[in-house]
Each structure stands twice: as C-alpha cells, then as structure tokens.
C-alpha cells in the first residue's frame, strides 16, 4: 500500500540536505559554521550569531523523550491509516529539540507501555516512497522490555 501520510517537499532548498541525508540513513541538522550552534527546525540564518554559513552536521541519533502523546484519532485525513500512533517532543544531546514519531509495537504507547518520559530513543529511517525517507524514532531497550513481557 502506498504511503498516505504527509510528504515533505524534498526539493525545498532549506530542507533538502536533511532529506538527502535521511535517504542515506543519516540524521543531520544545521550547525552554524561560525559559532557552532546547532539549530532546529531548519533556518537560513543562525539565530545565535546571525551567520548564514551553515554545515549540515551529523547528530548522534539518540534523544530523550521530554513528553509524548498518542493520536488515537486522525486530526488530519492524511493520517487516517496511521492511527493509533505516538509522537514525542525529543531533547537531543546536541542541544536542540525535535518533534518526532516514535514507533512502538501497537502504535499506542499508552497501551503497550514502550515509551515513557525520560526514555531514550534512537533515530530510524523509513523509506515511504522511492524518493522520500522519513526519520522515525525507536525506543531503545524495546527488545528487552518485550522479553520481560513474554516472561
């Protein structure tokens, strides 16, 4: 089945390097070439020092869940096929915050208990079309918790 969710404009010059990296399985964000500050979401200018010189630098791919929410109902028609799904506000060690979708076995973290505030998650790459790979997040230690549940 083809992906029905919202697709990014991968040709938008502001965000294209992010999507190109994601397609290669790499998580990157802009880092100011002058002052070294990471920023998210993508912007033309460093909000710290106002330099336009930017590198797309690799991120560790790890993040901590600041909070999460479970979409039980699609609040936009594009996500009808996706519910239930879990989203999170993530704190990255690079000093930025990101909104992301966290993959749990049922999609509903309240039901499966696979994500809690303070948990660590890691970036995963989901090719949803030939051109677009989206970044998702997987709970770290999900496997071990599944083992616990099975006992």
């Amino acid at each position: 089945m083809s992906y029905s969710g919202i697709l990014p404009d991968i040709d938008d010059p502001l965000t294209a390097p992010f999507w190109a990296a994601a397609r290669d399985g790499r998580l990157v964000a802009q880092r100011c070439a002058r002052c070294g500050t990471f920023r998210w979401t993508p912007a033309e200018i460093c909000p710290e020092c106002l330099s336009s010189e930017t590198d797309w630098a690799p991120l560790s791919g790890r993040a901590v869940v600041w909070s999460y929410a479970v979409y039980r109902r699609a609040m936009h028609p594009a996500f009808k096929a996706a519910v239930p799904y879990t989203v999170a506000m993530l704190e990255l060690p690079e000093g930025i915050r990101m909104l992301g979708m966290v993959r749990t076995s049922s999609g509903d973290a309240d039901a499966d208990g696979e994500v809690r505030i303070g948990d660590e998650v890691e970036a995963a790459f989901e090719a949803v079309t030939d051109e677009v790979t989206l970044v998702r997040w997987d709970p770290i230690g999900r496997a071990s918790r599944e083992t616990e549940t099975n006992e």
Binding site: I6, W66, G95, R97
Partner: protein, 377 residues
C-alpha cells in the same frame, strides 16, 4: 496608566455564532461592527479608525477589504496577522493615545466552519517538520505539554477535565453559546481521548461568527450610550525563539509577561473578579492560571478540581463558556463577555459586583497579551 490618555471600550457586538453558510468572513465582520456601534450609540460616520484581524490560513479580514465593505475611509487602518482580540485592543489603545484616531472599531469575522478551513497541518520550510511526523492540529502540542505537566506535578486528567466542565456550566447560562448541553466530569472521563491524554472537550470547536468592539477616549466614552470599560493595563511578550528548549511547550515566558503586568499595573491577582483565558485548548487555561499567579506553578490541577473557576467559585473563568463551549472566535468573544460582565449585562451568569476583569491570550507558542479591564475610573 501614568502620562497617557485613558482609553475605554464603549461598545461590544457579537453576531450569531455557529454555522453562517453563504456569507463571507468580511461580511460577518461588518455585521459585528454594526452591532458594536449600535451598542455604543454611534454611527459609522463617527469612526476614524479600523483595526481588523486576518483570518487564519486565508487572506481575508484585511482592514482595506472590510473598510471598503463598510463604506468608510477612516484616518487610521491596520490589520494584525493573529487573533485573540487582545492584541488588536492594544493596537487600538496605542493608536488613540498617539493621536492617530479617536474612535476605533475593532472587528473579526470568520466563516471557517462553513468554508471547511483546514486547521491540521503546516506546509513548507521548517514548519512542515511537524506535519510529516504526524504532529498535526494544536491538539498534538497541547497533549505533549499536558503530559509533561502530569509527569512533573502529578496533574490528573480528571483535574484538567474541570476546565471543560466548568466552562460548560457557564455556557449553559449563555444564550450565545453553541455547546450548552450539560457535561459532567463523569461524561468527560468516559469520552475517548483523541490525542491522549486530551479529549474532544479539551479542544476548541470550529464555528462561524463575528465580534467587534468600539474603543475611544475615556472622555468621549463618558458621553456614550453604555457604561465605559476602561483599559487599565496592558502587557505583551513574545517567544519567537524556541529551537533549543522543549519547555517552550509549557510556555514559561507567560510568567514573565504576568510579572510585567502585575508590576507595571499595580494590580494583583486578588484584584481580579473574573478571568478570561483564550482557550484553543483546556491546557492553555491550566498553564495561564499558574503563570499569571492565580495558583502556584504545578497546582493548577488542584485549583481547578476545587471548583474555583466554576459558577459560584472564587475565580470565575471564561464565563461565556470560552472556545470550548461558546464559540471559536479566536478570543474575541472573551473580550465581549468581559465588557458585558463589567457592565452588569450578563443575566443569569452575572458575576456579582464585578469591577475588574483580566483577559489573557496567546498566539500559539509565539506571543502573549494581557489586558486589565475595569469600570473604575
């Protein structure tokens, strides 16, 4: 406020709310203006300023369009790109103090329900980074903020539910309100979460309607039809930068805005007889009760569950029902209600002896405004 001309609200108007098919947002705004002018005992020829509010996600509501439709060429005209009425009230007050106009009509109209406006997604640039991750509709961010509040302070869903339940009780006494069917805390808890931990009752409805205010000098307002409601204090704050701090979802900068309001106005939370909180979601009510100092940060849930904000409570909040129960007028009807309450025109839901009200609002996670309104001169 020292050294500046005193400004008052002289008229308030609201159209029918709900579904108004076949009418443009601008035509609805003009009807609201007629109602507000009639309320003040003024004609459109008396107006020398027009302040409007652009509709979300469409280029209507511009002062040039509404002025043309209304058939006026006032000295001063301006449009804000965001709602809540509060920011527009501040702009009009400033314009009058600066001598750019003497009598300004402020208006907002929308046909967002009939026009099936899409409130779901952000498109393009950095903003689409939320949409592609499924974070659509303000419900997502509000749910994230509330879950964090639960984690930090032990706030429960039942405590949050009292926002919606209390506002529905108020709405039951408001003939203008769209949702008047009683909602109990049991009903609330029995309803399914849409974006857990939030339910339908925690989220603004989508409706058509219009609202308008007439603002003029306190001196002129004295001679008009209704008792003047003075703009006693104003404060604003922005929070444009949020790329580094997840806490921005709980909007701690509102606490800075509150500090500014209380310190510059000389008023204290205890002086406020009725509180109006622009409520895109119930979570905004919880946050603002805390940041404005009506209860300590973290204790908003307990404060709500004690029934403080309900009819008969110590701090009536959103006595119109708010956007959760009255109508989605982007905060504008909160100001209309504050004016009616301060004049003693609120009928069954009248807050006895009310003299000072506070209207607080926010534009998403980006800016906030507060106005203290009073009948004291």
């Amino acid at each position: 406020m020292a050294g500046s001309q005193s400004v008052a609200i002289a008229g308030a108007g609201a159209t029918a709310q709900g579904e108004l098919p076949g009418r443009s947002a601008n035509a609805i705004a003009v009807e609201a203006i007629e109602l507000a002018l009639a309320d003040a005992g003024l004609a459109k020829a008396d107006v020398d300023g027009l302040v409007t509010c652009r509709n979300l996600q469409s280029r209507v509501g511009i002062d040039e369009q509404i002025g043309e439709l209304l058939g006026i060429s006032p000295r001063f005209g301006a449009t804000l790109d965001y709602g809540t009425g509060n920011f527009s009230l501040h702009l009009a007050t400033m314009a009058i103090r600066a001598g750019l106009a003497e009598t300004i009509v402020l208006a907002y109209g929308t046909n967002q329900r009939s026009a099936k406006t899409d409130f779901g997604i952000a498109v393009g640039g950095g903003a689409e980074m939320a949409s592609v991750n499924g974070v659509v509709h303000v419900a997502g961010r509000a749910a994230l903020a509330f879950r964090r509040h639960q984690h930090q302070y032990g706030t429960t869903e039942e405590q949050l539910g009292w926002v919606s339940v209390a506002q529905r009780e108020w709405a039951g006494m408001n003939p203008l309100a769209i949702f008047r069917k009683p909602l109990t805390i049991e009903d609330y808890l029995a309803s399914e979460p849409l974006v857990a931990p939030l339910r339908r009752a925690d989220l603004t409805m989508i409706s058509d309607g219009g609202a308008a205010l007439v603002v003029t000098t306190a001196e002129r307002a004295r001679d008009l039809a209704k008792r003047p409601v003075h703009v006693a204090a104003m404060a604003q704050r922005t929070a444009f930068r949020a790329d580094h701090d997840p806490e921005s979802l709980n909007r701690p900068w509102l606490g800075e805005l509150a500090k500014e309001l209380w310190s510059t106005s000389g008023y204290r939370p205890d002086d406020i007889g009725a509180l109006y909180i622009q409520d895109a979601t119930s979570v905004w009510v919880l946050q603002m009760l805390e940041w404005y100092g009506f209860c300590p940060v973290g204790e908003g849930g307990r404060f709500l569950a004690e029934g403080r904000t309900r009819p008969g409570g110590s701090l009536p909040v959103n006595t119109n029902g708010g956007q959760l129960s009255e109508a989605y007028m982007w905060g504008w009807l909160h100001l209309v209600e504050a004016v009616r309450q301060l004049r003693g025109e609120a009928g069954e839901r009248q807050v006895p002896g009310l003299e000072v009200a506070l209207d607080v609002s926010s534009h998403d996670f980006l800016k906030g405004a507060a106005s203290i309104l009073t009948t004291r001169s």
